[in-house]
């Protein structure tokens, strides 16, 4: 078991407003105030043994403590939903294309972890790059995200290896950061959206501390050495580990990609109504692990589970770096938590690191 390294402390310059020593009750009444003002308040919720992010319910229950790897339904779904309507066709003598512009409510997501916040920043690289995805951009703009500091690392967590946690990384800051302090909780607004949300609270503001860092060291039981990984994986396509796991474990079930907070692949499909002159163009999450993802007319370029498993690992730890300048993994551990046969992305990388493919 290794002791993890804290991510760098937040710059004092990042803090725009601070409220220290808030009690749990004050935070609770703040969330209710936001809700009363018509803001959709999303909280971490426990149901059927898993954690999901859902709108705050009538019983006003939510979790403060959980591990990122227990989250089945990540907060990304409020900005990039699994199903979305893009536009509608209406055909009479002329074929009209009617835009469907989303009008999302102001949204406040509470209790997010640093890894999920990093993941949303990573999704920004895809959907806010040219051409900007209007649906994503619209929802992103109305969403304020509050990250709560993790008090412990879960058994599957390895954010410290990926530079995405346990403290929010400097490039992946939330709008609000909430951390346990001596007599309760400290709340720091890090953006103008954060200031607006904090402004709706009755808590007393205070001078921001010079430095925000965690004084506690979290113990991580999983660690990944990332140095040199992009080029190593590029050269390791023939490594036996992909075939071994594809034959003995991987089911091609796509769970990993469904729970991964940085996965972004999607599919379009047309849904035609019974009247048959109206059609909806929908978008929904898709997965490179699906057998049909790379179907072409007379074949399939990634038909084997071996190739698809290789794609998942290579995309997160290699191609992402070439495409977007950063790893596509935030170390949340969910792919391991949700794999029915415990395929472990870290064990795959370690197998490659310990027995490099001979050229």
């Amino acid at each position: 078991m290794r002791i993890g390294i804290d991510s760098k402390a937040l710059d004092a310059d990042a803090i725009k407003a601070a409220f220290d020593n808030c009690s749990g009750e004050e935070i609770h009444s703040w969330l209710l105030t936001l809700k009363d003002k018509g803001i959709r308040v999303i909280v971490p919720h426990q149901a059927d043994g898993v954690v999901t992010f859902e709108p705050i319910g009538a019983n006003l229950d939510y979790l403060f403590d959980f591990h990122a790897s227990e989250v089945m339904s990540a907060p990304r779904k409020f900005i990039y939903p699994a199903h979305d309507n893009l536009f509608a066709f209406h055909e009479t003598d002329n074929l009209e294309v009617l835009e469907i512009v989303p009008e999302p409510k102001q949204t406040f997501i509470f209790g997010v972890r640093a890894c999920d916040m990093a993941a949303i920043h990573l999704l920004d690289k895809i959907f806010l790059s040219d051409p900007i995805d209007r649906n994503y951009s619209t929802r992103r703009q109305v969403t304020t995200i509050a990250v709560t500091e993790c008090r412990s690392a879960g058994p599957a967590c390895f954010c410290s290896s990926m530079g995405s946690g346990p403290m929010p990384a400097q490039d992946f800051l939330p709008d609000i950061f909430i951390s346990p302090v001596d007599n309760g909780w400290g709340i720091k607004a890090l953006s103008s959206k954060g200031i607006v949300a904090c402004g709706l609270t009755a808590m007393e503001s205070s001078e921001p501390a010079d430095v925000i860092g965690s004084t506690r060291e979290l113990s991580f039981s999983r660690h990944l050495e990332t140095k040199g990984l992009p080029l190593l994986l590029k050269a390791s396509g023939e490594h036996r580990i992909f075939r071994d796991l594809a034959e003995s474990k991987c089911l091609g079930c796509t769970n990993c990609t469904m729970v991964c907070p940085t996965c972004f692949c999607f599919n379009y499909f047309d849904l035609t109504g019974i009247g048959s002159n109206k059609t909806l163009r929908r978008r929904q999450w898709d997965s490179c692990q699906d057998l049909h993802f790379t179907d072409v007319s007379h074949g399939n370029f990634r038909e084997s589970r071996r190739a698809r498993l290789r794609q998942f690992v290579s995309h997160k730890f290699s191609s992402w770096v070439f495409q977007y300048g950063t790893f596509g993994c935030v170390g949340c551990g969910r792919c391991l938590s949700w794999c029915p046969t415990q395929v472990d992305i870290i064990k795959i990388v370690e197998a490659i690191q310990s027995e490099p493919v001979q050229p």
Binding site: L95, V97, D133, K234, F266, D286, C288, S319
Partner: protein, 269 residues
């Protein structure tokens, strides 16, 4: 650019049959914009979906696409009536890098791949004086699969060296030309591969063996370009379907330098 995700609408105003299973349509639309040879449009049929098809030519406000029937969208396009409405998004993708070339050019087309090269050949014929020798090698399965007869007549008047070959000749067919792989046609042309830029389009395996053969015969691998194809949905480098290594075929391709793309996984080159 025809707007990124929201498609423009056009009408099929003419069609012709080029070969069994291959047809050309002209789509008229207010939104038709010029394209660079090698680019493609996402052509859509309401209720079915969209498919990436190379742009062939533009005439006024109509764009021509030559299409082979291979799936739901292409089958629908093959049978839609006159004036039927389709959707267009594009032009997308990278073009054949002709602008910075001079010297000798070699075009190698396999099957429907000639459709992706047609606009490039049109362009170099238009600027014939910039180039020295231009060769077109074209192979199809059977003689009846060879298309663009009219275009080839025009091209042969532009002092291009054109050679064709087929895999098989059915009984009673009058074909007297070459039979065999398109790469063996290289024996029949006095080409200096060291001075040549090559553009290849056809089935992926074919592009691979032609490029390999050219390198074996002395061509510098950095002067060989191919056009790749993958399942596409968004056409703009976001949905992930067409990824090869770090590249999106729709955005970083479809035209790639052979050297650039050959080192990644899940390809048939």
């Amino acid at each position: 650019m025809i707007t990124a995700t929201i498609p423009a609408v056009g009408r099929i105003i003419s069609r012709s049959v080029d070969a069994p299973g291959v047809f050309t349509i002209a789509i008229q639309s207010q939104s038709v914009q010029s394209f660079r040879p090698g680019q493609f449009n996402m052509i859509g049929v309401r209720g079915i979906g969209e498919a990436p098809i190379s742009c062939s030519a533009i005439e006024k406000d109509s764009i021509y696409h030559t299409i082979r029937v291979v799936g739901n969208v292409t089958a629908a396009l093959a049978s839609m009536p006159q004036n039927a409405q389709v959707t267009l998004r594009g032009p997308y993708g990278t073009p054949w890098p002709i602008d910075d070339r001079c010297g000798d050019l070699l075009f190698v087309a396999g099957g429907i791949g000639i459709a992706a090269l047609r606009a490039a050949i049109d362009e170099v014929v238009c600027h014939r004086g910039r180039f020295r020798n231009i060769y077109v090698l074209y192979g199809a399965h059977r003689p009846s699969d060879l298309i663009y007869g009219h275009e080839f007549e025009i091209w042969s008047e532009g002092s291009l060296t054109i050679l064709k070959t087929v895999d098989i000749v059915p009984e009673n067919d009058q074909w007297r030309g070459s039979i065999g792989l398109v790469s063996v046609l290289l024996d029949d042309i006095p080409i200096d591969l060291k001075q040549t830029t090559t553009f290849i389009c056809g089935p992926e395996r074919m592009m691979g063996f032609v490029a390999t053969e050219l390198i074996r015969r002395g061509q510098d691998s950095t002067s060989i370009y191919i056009s790749m194809e993958r399942r596409m949905r968004c056409g703009l480098g976001k949905c992930g379907h067409c990824m090869i290594g770090p590249y999106y075929v729709c955005k970083d391709g479809p035209v790639f330098a052979f050297d650039q793309i050959r080192e990644w996984q899940d390809i048939a080159l």
